[in-house]
């Protein structure tokens, strides 16, 4: 009945697709803009393409403010999009509220970064889960069925025995337990896709792994499509099948996780990987490879023309500041691409 059937659809089926997804937030105008005719906007997300498949994890990596959360919220239809398309099983969808939105929610669920903030402090765990079940009609028709469904959910996220947690308030649980509750709530809708927005960044190092492992386990058992958003590229390598790198609202590189992390193509990805802590490096050695000043992330209100990374790029060419790079295939592994003119065949030829 209410138990979630394991692996009901074939793996690799495309669940959710973003095509040319764009989001601009209008900026509140100030007094001094009074006489100008500009309409400023934060170009939070520009032309993002993304495909989530059943049984696969796609990681979205990027520094703070690069637009990762915005992508997730767009995919969850929590923000209206400025441009582009979101396709659920191939069908273009745009829902705002009401029954259509609920139908969408039932298939695409989101997990938030901060488990301390994403659970309402005044409600018990039981309330949170019951609502999720009821909204999507998975609560059964009797109290006993509901109870059963609640137990199943908590067991699924390894909060056992369930009775111990059901009537607790969020503040009575540890961070890891809370994030599990948040995941259980998402599962209450029996979704096909999970959008996990930095699900472990607020958690203690020692319990991050537990959550990631739980997600991986769920992916396999329930054949979920997962979007894993993180700023920790190492965890993307560990957890995701595919990794996409975002910079200033745009995708700059994508491909199979191992390839992207081990042989990064885009200068930004390289910088990111170089900067990650490396215990094998010798103490206190500031190698010449890490430049003194890598500059600042660009303003998203007036993003740099051409490639958005060109002001910070060590290998920038004149062309980079004028032409917007298109995704270019890198030969090393299938599906590995980078939006960088360095890989333009003409350029390489030169």
């Amino acid at each position: 009945m209410t138990s979630i059937p394991d692996a009901k659809a074939p793996a690799d089926e495309v669940v959710l697709e973003a095509i040319g997804l764009t989001k601009h937030f209008p900026v509140r105008r100030r007094l001094r803009d009074l006489f100008s005719n500009r309409h400023d906007a934060v170009h939070a997300v520009d032309d993002v393409n993304l495909t989530l498949r059943r049984g696969q994890v796609v990681a979205l990596v990027g520094e703070s403010g690069s637009g990762k959360s915005t992508v997730a919220r767009l995919l969850a239809q929590l923000y209206p999009r400025t441009g582009g398309d979101i396709r659920l099983h191939g069908a273009s969808t745009r829902v705002k509220a009401g029954a259509a939105f609920r139908r969408y929610c039932a298939r695409v669920q989101m997990i938030f970064q901060d488990p301390f903030a994403s659970l309402n402090p005044v409600h018990t765990i039981r309330y949170h889960l019951t609502r999720s079940l009821k909204v999507h009609g998975n609560a059964g028709s009797t109290d006993a069925e509901l109870e059963q469904a609640l137990h199943t959910l908590l067991e699924r996220v390894a909060l056992t025995p369930p009775e111990r947690y059901l009537d607790k308030f969020p503040h009575e649980l540890s961070g890891g337990q809370r994030q599990r509750v948040a995941i259980a709530r998402a599962l209450g809708a029996e979704p096909e896709a999970l959008l996990a927005d930095e699900p472990v960044s607020m958690l203690d190092v020692s319990i991050r792994l537990g959550i990631l492992n739980l997600l991986r386990d769920l992916k396999e058992r329930l054949n979920l499509a997962i979007l894993y958003i993180t700023h920790d590229i190492a965890s993307a390598r560990y957890f995701a099948d595919q990794t996409m790198v975002m910079y200033a609202g745009r995708m700059v590189e994508g491909g199979d996780s191992e390839t992207v992390t081990q042989s990064p193509a885009h200068p930004y990805t390289r910088l990111l990987i170089e900067s990650a802590p490396d215990p094998d490096r010798l103490t206190g050695v500031s190698d010449a490879a890490s430049p003194k000043d890598n500059g600042e992330p660009p303003s998203l209100i007036r993003p740099p023309s051409g490639c958005r990374f060109h002001p910070r790029c060590p290998s920038a060419m004149p062309r980079c500041s004028t032409d917007l790079p298109v995704p270019l295939q890198i030969g090393d592994s299938p599906g590995h691409w980078a939006a960088c003119w360095l890989y333009d065949t003409e350029e390489v030829a030169k």
């Binding site: 509140r28 105008r29 100030r30 007094l31 009074l34 006489f35």
Partner: protein, 326 residues
């Protein structure tokens, strides 16, 4: 542009709505100024006078509400607030300009003092917790729960009398003429002491409390710890770091409270027969003097709006975060 226009639209709309309400409300009151006048004099004014008063006040002409409203706006826009009935035929603007300075001086200065004192004590209470300042709160809370007028009357009873330094009523000595000289000013100050004191006593606790709470909140900010870690003197940390930041929310509260000066002190002025606008408003209410009521309401509306503007500006000036990006 949009933001600016929104702000302007907000002020304009609020002003319009408030003025329109000002126009309507007095007209909802039954009774008319002539009757009120006759009643006020309880037999001293013979009832034959009624007819002549209607003529005098210009109330014998019938006008519908809309026409009145239109002409009200016309008058307003030409800066004319009409003639008061209670003080017929004195123009409302004259009455207000006579009484407004008193209110502004008494209540304005008291509000400023109360704010400064309350903020100062609040800083102390928030910073030196566990010292004598802890006893301040319950006392001031109790005092501020006492109604103004009650406190004022008790003060008059206890502190004034034939040989007392404190006069029991009025804004200055009866034998004097308002002028900026060595007789008038001390007298005016002497007369304002008691009313000022009662306002102070009942309003200071609010400032103490909010400042204290803000100080406590700010005290746990990291930059305070940093300031201590820097080895700065306790005074400098308390003032330049803690109080300076804790002040911000209070300042806009202060600006708003300035807006309520005019409207908020009715009772002090009544009890101390202080010649301010609050007392005028009270008289106008009793006499169905709606030109005067409207005039005073207009002043209040404008002062609240100006105070809002001031609050906006004060925040802009005091909090660099709201200033333009450098």
């Amino acid at each position: 542009m949009k933001y600016f226009l929104q702000r302007v639209a907000f002020y304009l709309f609020t002003a319009w709505a408030a003025i329109t309400l000002n126009f309507l409300i007095p007209r909802m009151i039954p009774g008319d100024p002539v009757q009120a006048l006759v009643t006020k004099y309880q037999g001293q004014l013979s009832s034959q006078a009624i007819d002549s008063l209607y003529v005098l006040f210009g109330l014998n002409k019938d006008a519908n509400l809309w026409e009145e409203y239109v002409s009200y706006w016309k008058q307003l826009l030409s800066g004319d607030l009409g003639l008061s009935f209670t003080f017929f035929p004195t123009p409302v603007s004259e009455i207000i300009s006579n009484s407004l300075p008193w209110t502004l001086l008494l209540v304005g200065i008291t509000t400023v003092i109360s704010f400064l004192l309350g903020t100062g004590l609040g800083v102390l209470a928030g910073w030196r917790r566990g010292s004598w300042t802890d006893g301040l709160l319950p006392v001031t809370t109790f005092l501020s729960s006492v109604p103004y007028f009650w406190l004022g009357i008790i003060a008059i009873y206890l502190l004034t009398g034939p040989d007392s330094f404190f006069p029991s009523s009025g804004g200055f000595d009866a034998g004097l003429v308002p002028a900026f000289d060595q007789y008038f000013i001390p007298s005016a100050i002497q007369h304002s002491l008691l009313p000022a004191l009662t306002i102070l006593i009942s309003s200071v606790s609010g400032w103490i409390l909010s400042m204290r709470n803000m100080m406590v909140t700010v005290s746990s900010e990291d930059y305070i710890t940093v300031a201590h870690a820097k080895g700065l003197s306790d005074r400098r940390v308390a003032m330049s770091y803690a109080a300076r930041n804790a002040l911000l929310p209070n300042v806009s509260g202060f600006a708003l409270s300035l807006g309520f000066i005019v409207g908020g002190t009715l009772l002090v002025e009544i009890v101390f027969s202080y010649p301010g606008v609050g007392f005028q408003l009270f008289q106008a209410l009793g006499a169905s003097d709606y030109p005067l009521m409207q005039g005073i309401f207009l002043i209040i509306t404008i002062s609240v709006l100006v105070a809002n503007l001031l609050a906006d500006i004060a925040y802009l000036l005091l909090d660099p975060r709201t200033r333009k990006e450098g």
